[in-house]
């Protein structure tokens, strides 16, 4: 331990033990515990206690329960646990009967403080830290802690209950560890006494018939099997399995969720997964006797297992497919003609669950769709993957939701009524439909997919969130189609779809709901990015009003929409697709797009549109967009002037990014010895010329000012930029700096003023020599290193923590508390 900390510790312990000085900040105590944990990981706890007797005093103070606040009591319990984790320290503390006092029956159990959940939690966490060595096991038995842990499992505080369950697992494994498994026969005598009492308790709980008790016992088993992979877990299972499987025989399984968790935890454990115990049979049995909603998560878990019999996987996959199979069955014109694999459809329980109510139907379908979506993304997704069936079922679900399905069967009619305008299912189905775009499908199915997507995009009934999902799914399908057909070979679905799409987009861009306008713009940006170069796309887009409407949305009252419109316009302009400003219907008035964006950058009151403008400018500059090429320097100067005054640090960072790109372009490619030598079109610009250009566009002033920005990312970015500049313009030799130049002195003075947080005067025109001099003078590396450290690195030290805690209660006298 840091000697300085050792010095501060007695005062702190005194403060903590003093009931008149209540410690109000819990986070300090947490940090203190973290620190002690780190210290004891590397140092001997015993030594620590011996060198700092104040700590033992603090712990003994906690024994005087009446005087201690519940906060300090909980803290002391946890601290004692941390120290007692080392066996010699445990012994040391035991000698003073300190541990028995804290954790034993004479401890806080009977006191009013025990009613405070944090005290119970502290007691459990203390024991959790402590239960690491054989002496601890005996201690737990002696102090009667095990029974308390049992009762805490049903605690009213969920945190306490869950921690108690974890502790029980730890105690069980502590008690059994090291014993030879073969001795753990079925007779009670073979089990260590502590383990025996826990196992007995579990048996009793499982037999009790009361759902909360059974759930607790199952949770303990789940954690045990999940955490310990020793062979004794198998013996434990052998002993308890009859009781657990009994639970499955009831008509409705009350603890289905916990049972599923238990079996999955076992299946993941190497102890059970590989052995030939009847776990797989049990899992199959469980799958078939749980209700459809309960079986879903179990089926997903089974399908995610790496090791699992194929038959069980097939059964689990069927469970997930069944709701969708039911949908297809309900939609079939002739019963039984849905073309499903045998055993998938016509499950009466499934139909009942689907038709019971809107909420149960939506829950089941959403669960099934989400699980299938999750599976599809896995590298080992089930094979064969019924892509066509899933496509059809998803499309049909969406048609039921939109009311466009016209089923003949009565089940179909009811499903139609239940699912009509169910937004939850619509969102889930559209998500899943989007995921299905990764696979292909027969022409017919793909036509259906595009038809339903268009229906959703077009329907005034689609809510904004549903519409967003529809846009996302559409994009994924368009991408997958173009990928499948290759760029030269236009896909037969895309073209007619695009023709229909733009009138819909027009309407969406005029929607009174801003979320709709926003997602339509985002969609347009993506479309343009991917297909902006394709003649058919360009033709369809330009034939519509979409570009004009997008430009108009630059003035939208909603900031998010303006930002999206800026991005979309940027993309359209990159591809030469934006509306010509001087159309006959917009006489005069309109300015060019770069000017309009600059206007937004200077005047928009919200950050989002301004950030979007900076991104567009950066993109344009990178791509060499013609709009930028014209009078570039003057334009950049204007941008840097505006951006350096921006109040939003993200905009300033974006500005520096733009500066970096501009700098890189002005400097030309770096001299790389291995670069393929291209015939240089233009001779490389001289460093002095570069610096003069940078000065003219106000980049230098912006960068220097940003170097001392109060927002760290801005300063960091500027530092990197200037380092690059220095490396390329003022390396060792080359331009001579003018250190003693009076101008340089003035500039340095200005920089110092900025660093001190003063506004200062603009730097004015900078001579290259002066710039080089300043770049050399500035300790950019030092600055970079300082900035790289997080701003609170000083405050996070333990010493600072102790000082702060003392300062908070005024124990440090005149020392001023810093805001921690």
């Amino acid at each position: 331990m840091d000697p300085e900390c050792s010095r501060l510790l007695p005062a702190l312990c005194a403060v903590l033990a003093d009931p008149r000085q209540p410690m109000t900040d819990d986070t300090c105590l947490e940090k203190l515990l973290d620190w002690f944990k780190t210290v004891t990981e590397t140092e001997s706890s015993l030594l620590l206690l011996q060198e700092n007797p104040c700590l033992v005093e603090l712990l003994s103070q906690a024994l005087k329960f009446q005087d201690v606040s519940s906060r300090i009591l909980s803290f002391s319990l946890r601290l004692a646990g941390i120290f007692a984790a080392q066996e010699n320290c445990f012994q040391f503390l035991q000698q003073g009967e300190l541990l028995l006092g804290l954790f034993g029956e004479a401890g806080p159990l009977g006191l009013p403080a025990w009613n405070v959940p944090s005290v119970r939690s502290g007691w459990i966490q203390g024991l959790c830290s402590l239960a690491k060595h054989p002496s601890a096991e005996q201690f737990l038995v002696d102090c009667g802690a095990v029974d308390t842990i049992f009762s805490l499992q049903g605690d009213s505080s969920l945190f306490v209950a869950s921690a108690a369950s974890q502790l029980l697992v730890q105690v069980l494994s502590l008690s059994i560890q090291g014993r030879a498994t073969p001795h753990l026969g079925s007779s009670d005598g073979d089990w260590p006494s502590c383990a025996q009492s826990i196992v007995g308790y579990l048996e009793e709980s499982l037999r009790s018939g009361a759902t909360p008790q059974i759930t607790q016992a199952l949770k303990v088993l789940t954690t045990t099997f999940g955490r310990c992979h020793h062979s004794w877990t198998e013996a434990l299972w052998m002993r308890l399995s009859p009781l657990v499987t009994c639970l499955l025989e009831k008509d409705t399984v009350p603890t289905a969720h916990s049972l599923a968790d238990l079996f999955l935890s076992m299946a993941r454990s190497p102890t059970f997964g590989s052995s030939d115990c009847d776990l797989w049979v049990t899992l199959a049995q469980t799958l078939s006797c749980l209700s459809p909603t309960q079986a879903g998560p179990l089926a997903l878990g089974i399908l995610k297992l790496h090791v699992c019999p194929q038959a069980l996987k097939t059964q689990a996959f069927d469970v997930l497919l069944q709701p969708l199979a039911c949908v297809l069955e309900a939609a079939a014109q002739v019963p039984g003609s849905s073309g499903l694999p045998d055993g998938t459809g016509s499950n009466p329980t499934m139909a009942d669950a689907l038709l019971a109510s809107t909420s149960s139907c939506a829950a089941l379908l959403c669960q099934s769709l989400a699980h299938l979506g999750e599976l599809q993304a896995l590298p080992h997704s089930p094979r064969p993957w019924p892509q066509v069936l899933l496509l059809e079922a998803t499309v049909m679900t969406l048609r039921f939701c939109s009311g466009s399905a016209v089923p003949i069967s009565s089940v179909g009619g009811r499903l139609c009524g239940i699912l009509a305008s169910c937004i939850r299912v619509q969102r889930a189905a559209l998500d899943f439909l989007g995921m299905l775009s990764q696979g292909t499908g027969p022409q017919e199915s793909v036509t259906q997919v595009f038809a339903i997507l268009l229906e959703y995009l077009r329907s005034p009934e689609s809510s904004p969130t549903v519409l967003k999902k529809a846009f996302q799914a559409t994009l994924r399908w368009l991408l997958s189609m173009s990928k499948a057909c290759g760029s030269n070979n236009p896909d037969p679905h895309t073209q007619p779809f695009l023709r229909e799409l733009f009138p819909v987009m027009q309407k969406r861009l005029c929607n009174p709901c801003w979320e709709v306008r926003d997602s339509a713009l985002e969609f347009l940006t993506h479309l343009t990015t991917h297909w902006g170069g394709q003649p058919d796309f360009r033709q369809a887009l330009l034939a519509s009003d979409v570009p004009e409407l997008t430009q108009q949305l630059l003035q939208d009252p909603e900031a998010y929409v303006r930002a999206s419109a800026v991005t979309a316009m940027g993309q359209l302009a990159s591809q030469g697709l934006h509306a010509t400003p001087s159309g006959p219907e917009h006489p005069g008035a309109k300015q060019s797009l770069p000017q309009e964006l600059l206007h937004i950058l200077s005047l928009d009151s919200e950050g989002f549109p301004r950030r979007a403008v900076m991104q567009v400018f950066t993109q344009w500059l990178q791509d060499g967009h013609p709009a930028m090429a014209e009078d570039l320097e003057q334009f950049m100067a204007r941008v840097f002037q505006v951006v350096s005054r921006d109040l939003d640090w993200e905009v300033r960072v974006q500005g520096l990014e733009l500066a970096r790109v501009f700098l890189a372009q002005t400097l030309g490619p770096p001299d790389c010895p291995y670069a393929v030598a291209l015939p240089a079109a233009t001779p490389p610009t001289s460093p002095a010329e570069v610096l003069r250009t940078l000065g003219r566009v106000q980049l230098l002033e912006f960068a220097f000012r940003a170097l001392f920005d109060c927002d760290r990312p801005v300063a960091q970015k500027s530092c990197d930029l200037l380092l690059l500049l220095r490396a390329r313009t003022a390396p060792g030799g080359g331009l001579q700096g003018a250190e003693c130049n009076p101008e340089a002195v003035t500039v340095e003075a200005a920089l110092r003023a900025w660093q001190a947080g003063e506004q200062g005067q603009p730097l004015g025109e900078l001579v290259p020599e002066v710039v080089v001099a300043i770049l050399r003078t500035l300790d950019l590396e030092g600055l970079q290193a300082t900035l790289a450290e997080s701003s609170d690195h000083v405050e996070q030290s333990p010493r600072s923590l102790l000082q702060d805690m003392l300062a908070a209660v005024g124990a440090l006298g005149g020392h001023e508390a810093d805001c921690y």
């Binding site: 009311g403 016209v406 089923p407 003949i408 179909g412 009619g413 009811r414 139609c416 009524g417 239940i418 009509a420 305008s421 329907s459 005034p460 009934e461 689609s462 809510s463 027009q506 309407k507 969406r508 005029c510 929607n511 009174p512 709901c513 801003w514 709709v516 306008r517 009003d545 004009e548 409407l549 108009q552 003035q555 939208d556 009252p557 909603e558 929409v561 219907e585």
Partner: protein, 658 residues
């Protein structure tokens, strides 16, 4: 309790409820869909309409030439439009005591009922309902009267002729009862019979029932009605809405515990959600105007138009429509816009609070102030000077058969740049457009109907739990065009009772109790006896006095000597004979104890037999039977009166007398 159903239109109801001794008409809706069979009334001479070919029967008989014209395959009656009235033959209207109006759309047939049927009762409605209802009637009369039409066709109505006509004329019902529009004089006279009421105000009808209007959330001043006696409650739910638009929210709680809930006026477009439709309306409007086209919105002068204007107020700037003029043309446009701002107490909470700021509750005031919205009584006069295109015009009538809308359809119909957007759900837009075909103008159908949909109804019914639901037959089956949508109907237990036009329903519940008051002095004289814990009984002798449906028990008059002077007794003086009454008995006889008592009194050889209804105690020696049943005790012995009296006294010991 009976319900006479006079209208088959589910959203324009007209029913009569006979409840206790009252006859109450619930709403007075006028079915205007009949006007769709007529040619439009053009404001200015329309060569197209006047040159339409005549339609004649297949046999070449031309006597219908003057009455029927053909346009794009449809046949129309060339005459003053006529309306389909509620049934007036089913019940004598002069017996109707009161008419309860639930909203301004449901009172349009009022003049027909109050002026021509011998009706002498009172009409109850809220103030906005009266005022806006007056505006709607005034507009209707104005639309029809300002285009006088000489001809009134009647030949086609002949039953033999009608069945030879093409659909839909052939299928039109009760054409003989169709009537021309009423006059302003009739309107004024009808409206003068209205008595104004406020929400939750209790109105006594002849002491028999109490009626109360409740806010229904659908339109300014719209109400549902609760009709209740002391022991029965009937709720009448007409057009109601749970959406947050401009009116006060619906009062659901007061509908609880109804014996019968009469449910009418649900949404006519159950599959369209008003929010989506408003979005569709705005985007189509913006797209049309951007392309230089004009937008025509056929509408009523009050109601949804307020919400549309509010929505546009927020929307026009974002859509870059600030310079596009909005015109609202109706003879009552000005009054409608101004009335809406003064009914603060009938508005939703948000709008009410604005009044205290003080600000106008509806933002259309600002639209008018900034000259973005202009209103005119008609296309003649100032409007023609100010008219600028492209523009948006709100005008009536939604049937497209009369009003200024006819002119705009003729004017703009030929260009595909223009759009007509239908927002009122009352008329089929295809039928409404039929006489204008072929039409190049774009047509958008965005029906905005904020009334309850079936999901909301099922929630409402769960909430208020009526014993019986009665509704138009249309609500008990899915719509004919979507027969698989079982969710688009009322689903409740017990199943709803349905009615159709001209049907009389006996409502499925019987009145069982009547409240009677006891005069204090009579009550004082009663001596209650507790016969079971919590239940006391007392005998009452009194005179039942019934007047104005109120029943009072008064103390019996002292038996005064009959006055000798008068020979004829007046009926009211007739005093019932008050005989000395035997005491009433109550209680039950415990058999075992009874047997013990008998034994104590010297009877022996007693045998008890159990029967289905009680017991028989056999006194074998005395050859006597005592039959003890739940509600009677018989002592059967042969001519031994002494024994019978002895036994009777023993039995009576176990019973209470009072």
């Amino acid at each position: 309790m009976k319900l006479y159903c006079l209208s088959g239109h589910p959203t324009l109801p007209c029913n009569i409820l006979k409840f206790k001794s009252t006859t109450i008409m619930l709403d007075c809706g006028l079915d205007m869909t009949s006007t769709l069979n007529f040619l439009p009334l053009p404001l200015v001479q329309s060569p197209r309409l006047s040159n339409l070919p005549s339609w004649s029967l297949k046999d070449g008989n031309a006597y219908l030439d003057k009455e029927l014209k053909e346009c794009s395959g449809h046949v129309f009656v060339d005459s003053v439009p006529e309306f389909c009235l509620p049934e007036t033959e089913l019940i004598d209207m002069s017996t109707v005591d009161v008419i309860l109006i639930s909203n301004y759309h449901c009172m349009m047939a009022l003049p027909y009922i109050t002026e021509h049927t011998g009706f002498t009762g009172t009409v109850y409605a809220t103030e906005p309902t009266l005022q806006i209802g007056r505006l709607l009637m005034e507009e209707l009369v104005n639309f029809i009267e300002r285009v006088p039409k000489a001809q009134s066709a009647s030949l086609w109505k002949n039953k033999d002729v009608q069945r030879l006509l093409p659909s839909p004329l052939k299928d039109a019902v009760e054409v003989s009862t169709w009537r021309r529009c009423y006059s302003m004089q009739e309107v004024n006279s009808a409206l003068s019979k209205i008595q104004l009421v406020g929400y939750s105000q209790k109105i006594e009808l002849f002491g028999a029932v109490q009626v109360t209007p409740l806010s229904s959330g659908y339109a300014l001043g719209s109400s549902n009605w609760v009709i209740q006696s002391h022991y029965e409650k009937v709720s009448y739910v007409s057009g109601s809405s749970l959406l947050t638009t401009h009116p006060q929210p619906m009062d659901q709680a007061s509908l609880k515990n109804s014996d019968v809930l009469l449910l009418t006026g649900l949404t006519q477009i159950p599959t369209a959600n008003p929010d989506g439709m408003v979005g569709e309306f705005c985007s189509n409007l913006a797209l049309t105007v951007r392309n230089g086209g004009n937008v025509l919105v056929p509408c009523y002068p009050s109601g949804v138009i307020y919400d549309l204007l509010e929505c546009l107020y927020q929307y026009i700037d974002s859509a870059g429509l600030s310079n596009v003029p909005f015109y609202f043309i109706s003879p009552v446009a000005n009054s409608s816009l101004e009335f809406s701002q003064i009914f603060a107490e009938w508005l939703c909470h948000n709008k009410q609070t604005k009044v205290y700021l003080p600000e106008p509750p509806f933002p259309h005031a600002e639209l008018i102030q900034t000259n973005k919205l202009k209103h005119y009584p008609s296309i003649h006069g100032d409007f023609s000077n100010d008219f600028r295109q492209p523009c948006v015009v709100f005008t009536g009538h939604p049937s497209l058969r009369f009003g200024d809308v006819v002119h705009f359809l003729e004017l703009w119909g030929k260009s595909s740049l223009n759009t007509v957007i239908f927002t009122e759900p009352d008329f089929s837009y295809l039928d409404a457009l039929a006489p204008y075909q072929p039409l190049a103008m774009k047509c958008i159908y965005c029906p905005i109907d904020t009334r309850l949909n079936f999901i909301q109804v099922s929630k409402l019914l769960k909430e208020v739990q009526p014993l019986h639901v009665v509704c138009p037959e249309q609500y008990t089956q899915p719509p004919p065009t979507q027969s698989h949508r079982m969710d688009l109907m009322i689903d409740c237990q017990p199943p709803a009772m349905s009615y159709r036009r001209a049907e009389v329903l006996a409502l499925p519940f019987k009145r069982r109790y009547e409240k009677i008051e006891i005069m204090p002095e009579l009550a004082d004289s009663l001596v209650p006896m507790e016969i079971k814990p919590g239940i006391s009984l007392a005998t009452v002798s009194a005179v039942l006095h019934t007047k104005d449906n109120k029943h009072v028990l008064q103390p019996p008059p002292r038996s005064t000597q009959p006055t000798s002077g008068k020979k004829r007794k007046r009926v009211s003086d007739d005093i019932p004979d008050c005989k000395v009454l035997k005491p009433l008995l109550s209680g039950s006889i415990p058999v075992e104890q009874f047997v013990q008592t008998l034994e104590k009194h010297g009877f022996s050889d007693i045998k008890v037999e159990d029967t289905a209804k009680g017991h028989i105690v056999l006194l074998q020696e005395a050859e006597t039977l005592i039959q003890i049943e739940e509600d009677s005790t018989h002592i059967i012995c042969d001519n031994d009166e002494m024994l019978r009296v002895r036994l009777r006294d023993l039995v009576l010991k176990f019973l209470q007398k009072f």
